[in-house]
Amino acid sequence: SQQGEEDPQALSIQEGENATMNCSYKTSINNLQWYRQNSGRGLVHLILIRSNEREKHSGRLRVTLDTSKKSSSLLITASRAADTASYFCATDAIGNEKLTFGTGTRLTIIP
């Protein structure tokens, strides 16, 4: 598999439920970031977690990072219809800030 693989590829849930998306990567990282992309639009930065951090919160978002398993998860609590989008993880390495993106999870919130 390539650096940055999300699963599931697609997720549909009812409004109000929690959504969890996972990301795995292969090489050592400096930071891991999560982005949202609405259809045909740009990438909106959601949250950055550093390699020495294990968990981070921002509003309804909770991100975890397990560097021993080279994986991260993004939890969106109390989902809303407006959360419908694709979500990508992106990693960068120490001394190299170019981002390597995952394949993305397409999240659909059913009203």
Binding site: N31, Y35, G42, L43, R50, K98, L99
Partner: protein
Amino acid sequence: EPEVTQTPSHQVTQMGQEVILRCVPISNHLYFYWYRQILGQKVEFLVSFYNNEISEKSEIFDDQFSVERPDGSNFTLKIRSTKLEDSAMYFCASMDQGSRQPQHFGDGTRLSIL
């Protein structure tokens, strides 16, 4: 909140023609990037730019591509002789200095090569 702006939002060009994609990064940012996303595929890194020079480029960024920061605000990507496979969304991003900063992306330019 400051944002990265890209123009045009959609560019349609004949194969073989030159195209210039424009970006205005966030004003106090020092690092600039271009990425592209072919329809249905991953976002791919093209090039990074710092201190008026390319700091890294990918295999995609061959000699048909060039970047420029002609003044204090614009950052451009030029494709000299476009090919059909250059059709993609092109995203500009900028980042403040510091190793733990997020990259902020524009809304992209959809480039369609006919």
